[in-house]
């Protein structure tokens, strides 16, 4: 019996030695039985954040930095889950019950107003802009030099005229094989950039920068003028990010000039080089995407999730994350971080060479929701979408 007990004891000893050896040679990657069992981990507080697609690189990088600091709230780890969508899709999905985020960062305040009008979710506190980016035109320099040779004041008119059926690049001094002038923007129904493009076109047609009315939208002259432009755009992607990514990956064969956010153009400088140089052109008055961080007050959001989301928002507004924004082509919302801050990989010094302005361009007034709706409705009628 003693012998047996000794043998069993030896056996256990052997198991421990073998397991230790396995640990050492790395075979036991999942050696759960021999790990020191920690105190039961407290469940994380999950913040489901849905943001507009053009912020993807910055938000992803900032969330990684935030996670690296192992943030907690009253001892519970904070876990940020990210999903990018078109700005208007973010709101539509909440209203249709397809999405239940803790917080959202659409491109602009227009979507926040839209959400506030619904009864699906309220806001917990005031949304805070976290980064700025004006809406601009981006094109292939070789071609935009021909299209916009002098002033930038009449860019929409020049663009409108260049899209006429009888105009091709060869008539503007370009090459025959470039074909017709190809202009595009993202979907006004799904994206902020698309909706605001229509707004800029309407303001430009009516030669004003504020006070756009439903009557202006219903003006037959404007409708015909808008149709000249929209009817030659073959498709309207539902995410500004993937739209601009395709602009870069398909090169000048697919699009000559597009509407995008300034940050996308800044980040596109290097990526475009396989095809050539890009150029940024500012409309005479434009809109500013200020990316409001809005925490939701909804049945599906717990108070601790709101609090955790607030911590992440504060992190985004802090100096390290704002400096990080410069690397991704965003203008900081925190005035303590200047555009030309001495930050490694700050993209703005190089961006000044492709037409990016140091100062923010002037903006048009955001018209009331009914005017925005009328524009999108008109666009839908004209394009059958």
């Amino acid at each position: 019996m003693r012998q047996i007990a000794r043998f069993v004891a030896f056996g256990y000893f052997a198991i421990v030695i073998i397991a230790a050896a396995l640990q050492l040679v790395g075979l036991a990657q999942f050696a759960a039985p021999f790990n020191v069992i920690p105190a039961p981990a407290r469940p994380p507080i999950v913040v489901n954040l849905v943001y507009s697609s053009e912020q993807r690189e910055w938000i992803t990088a900032a969330a990684q930095q935030f996670a690296a600091g192992k943030p907690t709230l009253r001892g519970r780890p904070i876990q940020i889950t990210l999903q990018d969508r078109g700005s208007k899709t973010i709101i539509d999905d909440i209203m249709q019950g397809r999405s239940q985020p803790t917080a959202i960062i659409p491109a602009g305040s227009a979507q926040i107003s839209e959400l506030q009008q619904s009864n699906k979710a309220k806001l917990a506190g005031t949304p805070q802009p976290i980064a700025l980016s004006p809406l601009v035109l981006v094109g292939w320099k070789e071609r935009t030099d021909l299209l916009f040779p002098n002033s930038t004041q009449d860019i929409w008119v020049r663009l409108h005229d260049a899209l006429k059926p009888d105009v091709k690049w060869v008539t503007l001094g370009g090459k025959d094989e470039w074909g017709p002038v190809k202009f595009a923007h993202a979907s006004p129904r799904a994206t902020n950039s698309g909706a605001e493009t229509l707004m800029l076109l309407a303001y430009n047609y009516h030669k004003k920068a504020q006070g756009l009315t439903v009557g202006d939208v219903n003006d037959s002259g404007f409708q015909s003028w808008l149709n000249d432009i929209e009817s030659v755009i073959p498709n309207f992607p539902e995410s500004t990010d993937s739209f601009f990514s395709s602009f870069l990956s398909q090169g000048p064969s697919a699009n000559d000039v597009v509407v995008a956010y300034e940050n996308q153009a800044v980040m596109g400088i290097e990526r475009a080089k396989k095809w050539g140089a890009i150029q940024v052109i500012y409309p005479p008055a434009t809109t500013l995407a200020d990316h409001p961080f809005a925490i939701l007050d909804a049945a599906w959001v717990a108070p601790e999730q709101q609090e955790a989301a607030g911590l992440f928002r504060d992190y985004l507004l802090g100096e390290p994350a704002q400096r990080l924004a410069l690397r991704y082509g965003f203008r900081p919302a925190n005035a303590a971080v200047p555009l030309t801050a001495n930050e490694p990989n700050n993209m703005f010094p190089a961006a000044l060479n492709i037409g990016v302005q140091k100062d923010l361009p002037s903006s048009v007034e955001l018209p009331p929701p009914e005017v925005q709706d009328a524009l999108v409705k008109l666009w839908g009628q004209q394009t059958g979408r």
Binding site: Q3, I4, F7, V8, G11, Y12, A14, I15, I18, A19, L22, Q23, L27, A28, Q29, F30, A31, A32, P33, F34, V46, T81, Q83, D84, R85, R98, S99, Q100, P165, K168, K175, D176, E177, W178, G179, P180, K182, S231, V232, P234, N235, E238, S239, S242, S245, S246, L248, S249, Q250, G251, P252, S253, A254, G268, R271, A272, K274, W275, G384
Partner: protein
């Protein structure tokens, strides 16, 4: 007792090893990856050209053990051609989290056909490849490549020129000929067809139904069709034959750039080069489409998988297969380079995908104006065809084949056993369909196998046809289950008779594996001089064989 303790000890060690996750020393693992029991499973249906890339990436992603809400994501893939996937999704037969057809065109078609514009929640390009005209490098150079832009108009002028390649100082290359796949099935063919219609009316956007139905367009398609050697089921048929038969097979055929790169990667004697048609072409963007039927967690998992596929490593692997990266941080490099026959600058102008009704009109106009065919069906009715109901299956297959042939294509029937007999002379199908049905049903197995005599009888029928105003595809579909053993004609006589006639013979070796092997020994030399393909199949394949064959005409 000692033995019991030893067993206990070994059991404990075994259990410990298992708990440690050490590799199994035996057991039933066959290498098939298994989803963890608590996995969040998502699936992706992708088009065939992405098979090599995505099989690798799916396995690699599953190995990362990426989690959503503490559930490991497990991706399962299925290879499904774009058109077929669209039909199955529409009919509810295919339920998938992610769909990746060759081009976004298919998503638009699905939205239109299903009447559901919200069928997908997102669609982003995974990789890119433009549609190009692939042409033998010496021929392209003769036309001015790479300095002179070349397009559909140049091809048409060459097709119409009686001098053929003599126009460019190479009469030895004969007339310009090309291959064209079926736009009902092939995304490349559909894009090619739309590009042809744009070129026909001189437009580069705003193609309308009226444009594609105009007499000018129809004439353009018919004129281009004059140069077509034959149609095909997929681009693989053409690239295989170009590799096998070289420049004498066809001069060019339209494909995705990746197919051309794949051809050149296999070090052919003469390489192909990509011509980006000067009138414009299409990008195929291989979209990653997350379907609206996916749950929120599945959508998040799909996003994670998408991010993985867009990483530099994944995109570089895709580029090694010949795709262009969708991740703009990945710079173009081999094989997307002149060394593999492509220009990194790619097309100068791309054409917008027209609305769904224009696409449908384009397919219909093409069907009415594609090159017409004269087809002799030459069918083995030797004694062995009664085994395993082979002849009955063939009769059913021939019936399906005739259903897909156009009414003004001319079709005839020769049957052969110890001798050959013209059962139904060549005539437009609209006139002799009943006679063909009757003759097919009357076929009875008996006697030996005079393949060569059967082919000569078929050729005589084709030779005796009155000349037509427009050129037609001339072809013989030969079906047999055995070896030649009874003909009065020799192989050399047969080969000499068909030389330079322009008649293509498409042989089918049919039956059991032994039957196919025997038949192939006679048929392969015929394929070699006729520069076609040998189709092999058993009785169970006959419907597919005839469906595929019908796509050649």
């Amino acid at each position: 007792m000692r033995r019991i303790s030893l067993i206990l000890l070994m059991t404990l060690i075994g259990a410990t090893l298992a708990a440690c996750g050490a590799p199994s020393l035996g057991g039933t693992d066959n290498g098939t990856p298994q989803a963890p029991s608590n996995a969040l499973k998502i699936n992706i249906a992708y088009s065939p050209e992405k098979e090599g890339w995505l099989k690798d990436r799916i396995a690699a992603f599953n190995a990362t053990n990426t989690k959503i809400n503490n559930q490991p994501i497990f991706v399962e893939g299925v290879n499904k051609s774009s058109g077929a996937a669209r039909t199955e999704i529409k009919n509810g037969q295919l339920k998938t989290t992610i769909w990746s057809p060759s081009a976004s065109t298919w998503l638009e078609v699905l939205k239109q056909e299903s009447g559901n514009p919200n069928v997908a929640v997102s669609a982003k390009p995974l990789v890119l490849t433009p549609v190009v005209i692939s042409m033998w490098k010496p021929m392209a150079e003769a036309m001015g490549y790479p300095n002179k832009p070349i397009g559909w108009g140049d091809m048409l002028a060459l097709i119409n020129d009686p001098q053929g390649w003599g126009k460019f100082g190479h009469p030895e290359w004969g007339r310009f000929s090309w291959g064209h796949t079926d736009p009902e099935i092939s995304t490349s063919a559909l894009s090619t067809l739309l590009a042809e219609f744009y070129a026909a009316v001189g437009k580069q956007r705003g193609l309308t139904v009226a444009d594609v139905q105009s007499p000018k367009s129809q004439q353009f398609i018919r004129d281009l069709g004059k140069g077509i050697k034959h149609y095909g089921y997929n681009t693989l048929v053409f690239s295989d034959n170009m590799r096998k038969f070289g420049v004498s097979y066809i001069s060019a055929f339209p494909v995705e750039e990746i197919t051309l790169i794949d051809f050149n990667k296999k070090a052919p004697q003469v390489p192909l080069v990509a011509i980006y048609p000067k009138e414009g072409t299409f990008w195929h963007d291989d979209p990653f489409i997350v379907m609206a039927s996916a749950s929120s967690a599945e959508q998040q998992a799909a996003d994670q998988f998408f991010n993985f596929l867009l990483t530099a490593d994944s995109q570089k692997l895709a580029m090694s297969f010949g795709f262009r990266p969708a991740n703009n941080d990945v710079q173009l490099s081999d094989p997307v380079s002149p060394a593999f026959g492509v220009q990194p600058q790619g097309p100068q102008n791309t054409l917008p995908v027209p609305p769904a009704e224009v696409i449908v009109a384009a397919k219909n106009t093409w069907a009415q104006n594609r090159k017409r065919a004269d087809i002799m069906l030459v069918v083995d009715v030797s004694g062995s065809m009664q085994d395993d109901n082979k002849l009955d299956q063939v009769k059913a297959g021939l019936g399906s084949f005739l259903q897909r042939i156009l009414p003004d294509d001319r079709v005839g029937l020769v049957s052969f056993s110890s001798t050959a007999n013209v059962d139904v002379p060549l005539a437009p199908l609209s006139q002799n369909r009943a006679a063909l049905d009757t003759a097919i049903q009357a076929l009875r197995p008996n006697g030996k196998t005079a393949i060569y005599d059967g082919l000569m009888a078929g050729k005589s029928e084709l030779d005796n046809l009155p000349a037509e105003k427009e050129e037609r595809i001339k072809a013989i579909v030969l079906l047999t289950d055995g070896q030649e053993n009874a003909s009065s004609n020799t192989f050399e006589q047969l080969k000499g008779a068909f030389n330079e006639t322009g008649i293509s013979i498409f042989p089918v070796a049919y039956g059991s594996a032994d039957d196919q092997k025997q038949a192939a020994s006679t048929l392969q030399p015929i394929v070699d001089f006729s520069r076609t393909i040998l189709v092999q199949g058993s009785t169970g394949d006959i419907a597919q064989i005839f469906d595929n064959l019908s796509r050649y005409f």
